[in-house]
Symmetry: C2
Subunit: 519 residues, 2 copies
């Protein structure tokens, strides 16, 4: 698999050009005012990596700690030994590392009385970075000292930024995996790209105009958009890409590719299975090689995960279609047409949600509801399609469909099919115990069975059938009022009434086609 | 979501106790032998972080570069300025950073002729970490210098290890996402745990005895095992966990948990949907806080991804079951029993693979093959189950099942259902153009149609039916030889013959039950 990472040459990310260079913070901790002024004088006009110095001043160990608490980005601390006590500086050095937990600031101990603080013991026992006698601190030596300290500090900070960036990517990757829905996942990727680059940054980085798209069967569909692209969901992604980003789509071989142009950043992953995930962030800029690297690491990781979630979503959709197909195959035999199953499914889902079931349980009920009449597959045409009333024997055969459906489904260990078995078995039971096949009563009947019983009858009454017109909603309400506690679970009927508008809306969302002549 | 990380107290990971402490490598580059011996003498018995020094010697800049090339873990380089040339040391310093690209070694320039190398210019222009005159290098000053350099080096190396560890985790996470199969994914996690911790390590870490398990519907099933657990696939994971790791299963609330005991390391993630992913590595030990941290980061990330892949796999299995159910529902009406559909599916898959289709295409054919007779759902009982030969009108009705099946499936945009439509439409076409419904010939017939036509007939001939006994394989071969190029694609028939044993093995893997009396 090739793995190209193209950063367009026109962009000059290094050195950072967005803001005037931040100074290096140098903290002088000394109870002698003169040491402060001499140090400042000696380092006047000093710069390192084109950045000047900014001096902070403390006149006791205690004040030093306060400054370091306030400024967590102090690069170098020049620390006197004898101040409020004979070992105030040593205590301060220890507190910086152990109490403030600051391992990054470079600590240079400066003593005027070397006898007080024997060098060999101190450098071994305290986690300091250098030990100087004040007499050594000529201008030249101070310059060398600052170069030495700032170089180490810069290297450490740069490695730590890199570490933090990677940690943020991993953390966001872990969080993203916990998103169940493709759109949430895609939205999450877009929101985290900026955070991964510059967690502390402001204005510019907050403008997040991006799209996440996924291609299968030749259609590069936008799954989520942020900012100005938030209205573009389900549109073709190629249409929103700027000219200078679009050519990345031309190469159809598997692998990762990224490109950073003046219009923005685009990253793409084609799997071996010919699926493509794409991320585009308009106007995104990076400020250095580290950000380029982090951006690529993030996108590679996010895009592979994105493919997985996309495929899962495709599977869910495809499974839903097959379940409907299965239900429709049964309906087809009994000459029912239209969207009965879709409506029963959605009505059951809404009832399940409103009755306080978990989203997962409600989801299974929605997915499995179309299987409620599966057992009718075994009912002979002569009975299933008999235009007249069934006689007792025929009715007994017809009623076997509950148990046949159950038998077809219940041996599966898949939650969806188990749920289908339960619904098939119980959807003709009645709250008062007069239903079939088992004559269960009340909560002996599974909640899924009680829910689909209501959904099935509600939709049948509201819809036109070959043998009856559609009832108006008042008649339907009267019927349910009458059957509350007889045929139907009274609590569920109350929930139906409390949310009647929403249930009617489902009816209207999936209208049946005009009636066909009976074939 | 809570996020507990329990490290059992009995383990004392810090300081590393596995091997005797590795020394810090100090490189002396000086053309004066005496400088080498004096430096060694002054630093005799010096230790830092309980680790001694190991001296490496070079007598020219060139030799210094050679040593640094060979030993990439040199901590400090004490570098003379004037050696083979007046600026040999300066050239060496530049080469270390720019040619060897080694930013970690602490370079201390030591000069005997300060006039030759003016301190202020050199410290500014060369990426060195300190500048000393040789006269300064008393025992005390050398000690301070070494402490200073080794502290920085230690901090930098430790951050870099952390960065590298995170980068390995991200890289392995990205690679894992590219695994299509749950078992490969789980196996990959187990293999990468050790690599993430200690890429360069040996013996101990190579012993990889671990399991990855996933729980749904109350069954904590081993998906993959390594080392001694490689035979435990599909077993209950709880049974293989040591006593002191097992209690992590007791807490059933959602979240991450890890535990490191003397028996090993266990990490667990329970999602809000009550799925659980579990990783266990027997005898795994960590050597420091960084490894603990990396281990947790890795497991958190891997377990969330593992859940996604597991759910996708469950969906695939559940979809396959539903497709069979759909096919079985049709078969149920036409009173066929047994595993005809499973066999047709597997035979089609093998033919597709052997004929050079991509794994993805072959997979779709396998999944969709059970839908080939879907249209029979619309054929009246009287025709479908007529014991006698059909008359011309009845036969015409029977033949509509190809197109009815196609109509039911083809409007989906899901690859599986599209494939089902193609198979339903073409599986009764014949190579010589005498089939139905369209009378297509040769490669006008889709490859999926040509494949399933062979699979359907092959299985029908090899199996017992109510109207005929099972043929023996010689008769079947003769029939296919006869129909090669008439009914069937000749190339596919050749592939069937070339792999006949494998096809017969499929027949035997899914035997039909004993015949039932016709009901």
């Amino acid at each position: 698999m090739n793995d190209e990472l193209i950063f367009a040459e026109e962009q000059i990310p290094e050195p950072g050009n967005a803001s005037p260079q931040k100074p290096w913070k140098i903290l002088i901790v000394d109870d002698d005012e003169e040491v402060h002024s001499i140090t400042k004088l000696a380092l006047r006009n000093f710069t390192f990596d084109s950045r000047p110095l900014q001096f902070l001043h403390a006149y006791s160990g205690q004040e030093g700690i306060e400054q370091l608490t306030e400024h967590t980005d102090i690069a170098v601390c020049l620390l006197d030994v004898v101040m409020e006590s004979e070992h105030a500086g040593l205590d301060t050095a220890r507190a910086i590392r152990e109490t403030l937990n600051n391992g990054f600031v470079r600590i240079v101990l400066r003593t005027g009385q070397p006898g007080q603080a024997p060098e060999e013991t101190i450098i071994a026992e305290y986690d300091i970075n250098d030990y100087k006698e004040k007499t050594e601190l000529t201008r030249g030596k101070l310059h060398t000292l600052l170069y030495s300290c700032l170089r180490s500090y810069r290297d450490i900070i740069s490695l730590d930024r890199s570490r933090q960036g990677l940690e943020r990517i991993l953390e966001s990757s872990t969080q993203l995996h916990q998103k169940t829905y493709l759109k949430d996942f895609a939205q999450g990727i877009l929101e985290q790209i900026s955070a991964v680059l510059s967690p502390e940054e402001d204005a510019f980085y907050a403008k997040n105009n991006g799209v996440a798209a996924f291609e299968h069967s030749g259609n590069l569909r936008i799954i989520a958009g942020t900012g100005e692209y938030s209205e573009y969901e389900n549109n073709d992604a190629a249409a929103v890409l700027p000219e200078d980003c679009r050519d990345i789509l031309d190469d159809t071989s598997p692998g990762f590719r990224s490109k950073l142009t003046s219009s923005g950043f685009i990253s793409l992953y084609r799997s071996n299975d010919e699926h493509t995930g794409l991320l585009f962030m308009r106007d995104l800029k990076t400020r250095n090689q580290l950000e380029n690297h982090l951006l690529q690491m993030f996108c590679r990781n996010a895009l592979t995960a994105f493919e997985n979630i996309s495929l899962r979503t495709l599977l869910e959709e495809s499974q839903r279609e097959i379940v409907y197909l299965l239900g429709d195959a049964v309906e087809h035999r009994s000459k029912e047409t239209g969207f009965h199953l879709r409506r029963v499914s959605e009505i059951s889902y809404l009832l399940a949600q409103r009755s306080g079931l978990s989203e997962e349980q409600a989801g299974f009920i929605r997915e499995a509801a179309p299987l409620h009449d599966l057992g009718k597959i075994a009912i002979p045409d002569a009975i299933l399609n008999k235009p007249d009333k069934l006689d007792a024997t025929e009715w007994a055969v017809m009623k076997t469909h509950s148990e046949v459906g159950y038998e077809m489904l219940h041996s599966s260990d898949k939650p969806l099919l188990k749920m289908g078995a339960e619904i098939a078995l119980d959807h003709h039971e009645r709250w008062d115990g007069t239903g079939y096949p088992a004559g269960k009563a009340g909560t002996e009947i599974s909640i899924a069975g009680r829910i689909t019983a209501i959904a099935d009858v509600f939709d049948a009454l509201c819809s036109r059938r070959v043998y009856k017109p559609a009832w108006d909603i008042k008649q339907v309400e009267e019927y349910f009022q009458l059957q509350r506690g007889l045929h139907f679970d009274p609590d569920l009927v109350d929930i139906l009434f409390e949310n009647l508008d929403e249930f009617i809306a489902i009816q209207q969302r999936f209208p049946d086609p005009e009636p066909q002549p009976h074939d």
